[in-house]
């Protein structure tokens, strides 16, 4: 998860101008043209390393995903497709998966990619760093022959979960001959990676850009269409807008420029803006209650807090309409698991007051029931604005609020290490598979002091733990979905943490750029199929 980016918000009229015709077809016209250099940027800063084995946030994911490849990817229609895996098949008991590894794939240094690389990557990188929390049931990986690896699990593992793990943003296949025997975190190759993807690392001019060149030996013979890919870092959004307008940058992902610039640039007819390409990385702004505070022992208090907040107002005012009210811990673009049939905490200050009265917190002589410390994580500027609004509406129902908006390191420390908050406004980005990315915010095993973006509220409910345990091992898709629906109902009623709003991210691209925004996590896609119209 990346938190050092400046999340842009957009004026209400922007979408109407910018995303008109933003269907997939609008970004892929005619026969691909070969050659050219694409210059890209994103709405955040330069990464700490080109590749961070544990992920390290969206910035290194953006830079590394053009070089490294995964075993599989997810398509816009929800289907899964093999990348470095040709196919995968579960055993009858779903405790193992046999994966056929693609043949004829070479690393950028000319060495063949083999099953040894897959085994090393899974056991040494995935299990220890990249997707450790998704491999808690992982029992090991074997390679019975030169084309096959077998993933083994201690318990039945659903197919959707398994395929989603293969598609995880940083579940890369790394070269064993480069990483074996070293500390992967400090390996110098992280700053000049050798991988299998369509782009080969050429240069990193720190403070400026990455330069990648076409991998002539890429296993997809047609790709990449472009000769060169530049990822350029411009810290200032106004600078990004100017660079795009001057033609120096062709495409910006994850809210690269400010709202007026989106409107202005799309208004020229030379750019398009689209919210597509973020379906597998939906962001939300959340509010969580610190259950260590006895005030939150009664769930009516937690519900009352959400009843006191007008989420629609936040979506329309703070996010200029580029957000929608959150209703469930599973977000509404999630076609597999989302349900609208959850416990509702609509904006109703009178009900909030009544719930607080009934919970034993009547207003005192000073008009306050109790006072809470509200921490708004300062990694997105909008969080502070949401915090100011929440403070106001909670004070309206008699809850005193001390609001602080610390910077990123302080927020991480106070929320996830010190648990120094009563209410925290934070953010999540979750894929479709709810385990563990969503469930770990609510299960007891998600309470890991010092580990960010886990269960900081301290919520622990044996019933929820059991329910999640069943979701983990239920291999029948229909039954599994029913369990996830139950999970959503329980969590929305318990309300230890709920999304206030689901956010909408935007890609801005020159009309010359073709085939963009065609992946549900476009920022982390390989971009081998992008091309530039003449």
């Amino acid at each position: 998860m990346t938190i050092n980016v400046s999340r842009r918000v957009f004026g209400a009229g922007v979408l109407a101008v910018g995303v008109a015709g933003a269907s997939r077809g609008a970004f892929a016209q005619g026969t691909p043209r070969r050659g050219g250099t694409l210059v890209a940027t994103w709405g955040g800063g330069e990464p700490q390393a080109c590749y961070v084995p544990a992920g390290g946030g969206s910035s290194p994911t953006f830079s590394s995903s053009k070089l490294f490849e995964r075993l599989a990817k997810r398509n816009m229609d929800g289907s899964f497709e093999g990348v470095l895996a040709e196919s995968w098949k579960p055993s009858a008991d779903f405790k193992s998966y046999t994966v056929k590894v693609r043949k004829g794939v070479k690393f950028h240094d000319g060495k063949d990619m083999t099953v040894d690389d897959v085994v090393y990557s899974v056991s040494e990188i995935w299990k220890k760093y990249a997707v450790a929390s998704a491999l808690t049931d992982f029992a090991g990986i074997e390679s019975p022959d030169a084309d096959t690896v077998v993933f083994k699990y201690n318990n039945p593992t659903p197919e959707f979960f398994f395929a989603s793990t293969l598609c995880s943003p940083v579940a890369y296949i790394v070269p064993k001959h480069v990483y074996a025997g070293s500390d992967p975190v400090t390996n110098p190759a992280n700053n000049a990676p050798i991988a299998t993807g369509p782009w080969k690392f050429k240069e990193w001019v720190r403070g400026s850009h990455f330069e990648y060149v076409k991998n002539e030996n890429y296993w997809k013979k047609d790709e990449p269409y472009l000769d060169r890919l530049i990822i350029r870092y411009v810290r200032d959004p106004a600078g990004r807008a100017a660079a795009m307008e001057a033609g120096d940058i062709h495409i910006g992902v994850f809210n690269p420029v400010a709202p007026p610039d989106i409107k202005r640039l799309t208004g020229t007819g030379k750019f398009v803006a689209t919210p597509k390409g973020y379906e597998e990385a939906v962001w939300s702004t959340t509010l969580e209650c610190n259950m260590r505070n006895p005030i939150f022992a009664k769930r009516e208090v937690r519900q009352a807090i959400f009843n006191a907040i007008n989420r629609d107002f936040i979506a329309k005012t703070v996010y200029y309409g580029y957000a929608r009210p959150g209703t469930s811990p599973i977000y509404s673009p999630n076609k597999e698991f989302f349900t609208a049939d959850t416990f509702k905490t609509p904006f109703d200050p009178k009900k909030a007051a009544a719930l607080l009265d009934a919970a034993g917190f009547p207003k005192k002589a000073d008009g306050k029931r109790f006072t809470l410390n509200l921490l708004s994580a300062g990694w997105f500027p909008e969080n502070g604005k949401v915090g100011a609004y929440v403070k106001q509406v909670l004070e309206d129902v008699g809850i005193g609020i001390n609001l602080t908006v610390p910077d990123r390191p302080t927020s991480i420390k106070r929320i996830y290490t010190d648990y120094d908050f009563d209410l925290a406004i934070s953010n999540q980005a979750n894929p479709s598979e709810p385990v563990p990315s969503t469930t770990q915010y609510f299960t007891t095993d998600g309470i890991l002091k010092g580990v960010p973006f886990r269960n900081a509220s301290g919520y622990s409910n044996p019933d929820v733990d059991k329910l999640v345990d069943r979701i983990k091992v239920e291999t029948d898709p229909a039954k599994r979905k029913a369990l996830v629906v139950d999970f959503q109902k329980v969590i929305t009623q318990e309300a230890p943490l709920l999304p206030l709003v689901e956010l909408e991210s935007i890609t801005l691209a020159s009309t010359k750029v073709q085939n963009h925004s065609n992946d549900p996590n476009f920022l982390a896609a390989s971009w081998g199929d992008l091309w530039l119209a003449s």
């Binding site: 001019v205 720190r206 850009h209 350029r232 870092y233 810290r235 120096d248 302080t410 010092g450």
Partner: protein, 338 residues
């Protein structure tokens, strides 16, 4: 650190002046030692007081939850030691020119800074050169044409560039010269994929230099104008005119040289603020300098790099002030600096 001026004294000439300069240099270098120590101690303590540490951010980014791994990392980075011990170890390392290791860049701190330092030095030098050249020239013109259109023009321009925030000025320059006119690049230090030649870098240097330098040019113009007018009232100027020297000769050879002293003073003091200003300008122009590195390092609590930049920045300021003292002696031989 500009010294206390004692004037008048017998003018020092030839070898005597060189000896005085060397004596001054030696004294200043000795004085710099406790100053640097103070800089290191104060910055170290300030950083220790900030909430959150690089280790917490590092474990967060790497999703490290195993207490044993965290304990090992704490030991590896010396965070198990008491703060005073960490400080002593840092000072000892500095004495051996070891600025520590940057976990974030995965390289020694000095190497991380060295990668970015040339860009910042280039930007600072060009900005100061521009500021001094334009500021002094504008101040001289204003003082020679006092209460005329030119004087008013300099005053208004100085007020504008002094009041304009540098980030706004930078963006406006980009909009005008890069987006609208297409004359100059939007940002960066060189063309991507270019040869990195001198002309290419100079082409990219123009806008950031203007954005950073014009603010200081405004200050120098105002100071220079008032200093020129003040010196022009002194007896030796009247004497020079009485000797029959032309107005231009008197202005250039007598008034200008003496009027430069306040500008030189400000120049030395402002070295640190120019470095600070480059943080903003580097951000606006994607200039790959130390300012960007400092910004990232503060955001990520990358203390070894922050401290390293602070120490190097202090060295620059100290060196600049020693240079100022020496320039004083050169400009006005009557001056002896204690």
């Amino acid at each position: 650190m500009a010294g206390e001026l004692v004037s008048p004294t017998p003018a020092l000439r030839g070898s005597a002046r060189r000896a005085a300069a060397l004596k001054l240099l030696r004294r200043r270098l000795i004085q710099a030692v406790p100053l640097m120590l103070g800089v290191v101690v104060i910055n170290f303590c300030l950083i220790q007081m900030a909430p959150g540490s690089f280790l917490e951010l590092m474990t967060a980014e790497n999703q490290v939850s195993d207490p044993a791994t965290v304990a090992l990392l704490r030991k590896t980075y010396g965070l198990d030691d008491p703060v005073w011990m960490q400080l002593l170890k840092y000072i000892w390392a500095l004495l051996h020119f070891d600025f520590g290791f940057s976990y974030r860049q995965n390289m020694p701190v000095i190497q991380a800074i060295w990668i970015h330092l040339p860009a910042t030095i280039l930007l600072m030098v060009s900005s100061i050169a521009l500021a001094v050249t334009i500021g002094v020239a504008a101040g001289v013109v204003a003082s020679m044409k006092v209460r005329t259109f030119w004087d008013s023009l300099v005053s208004v321009a100085a007020m504008f560039f002094y009041a304009a925030p540098s980030f706004w000025l930078g963006i406006m320059l980009i909009v005008l010269f890069s987006v609208k006119l297409g004359w100059l690049p939007v940002g960066g230090m060189m063309k991507i994929g270019g040869n990195g030649g001198v002309l290419e870098i100079l082409h990219h240097l123009i806008l950031p230099t203007l954005a950073l330098g014009l603010f200081y040019a405004a200050i120098y113009a105002r100071v220079m104008r008032s200093s020129m007018l003040e010196v022009a009232q002194l007896d030796f100027v009247r004497t020079a005119r009485a000797k029959g020297l032309s107005r231009n000769q008197v202005t250039i050879h007598h008034v200008l040289r003496n009027a430069l002293l306040p500008v030189v003073t400000i120049l030395g003091v402002q070295m640190g603020t120019v470095l600070a200003g480059s943080v903003v300008i580097e951000s606006v122009f994607s200039w790959p300098g130390v300012g960007s590195l400092l910004f990232d390092s503060v955001s990520s609590r990358n203390y070894p790099v922050v401290l390293g930049i602070m120490v190097l920045g202090s060295l620059v300021v100290i060196a600049a002030n020693i240079a100022v003292d020496l320039i004083y002696m050169w400009l006005d031989p009557r001056i002896e600096i204690r």
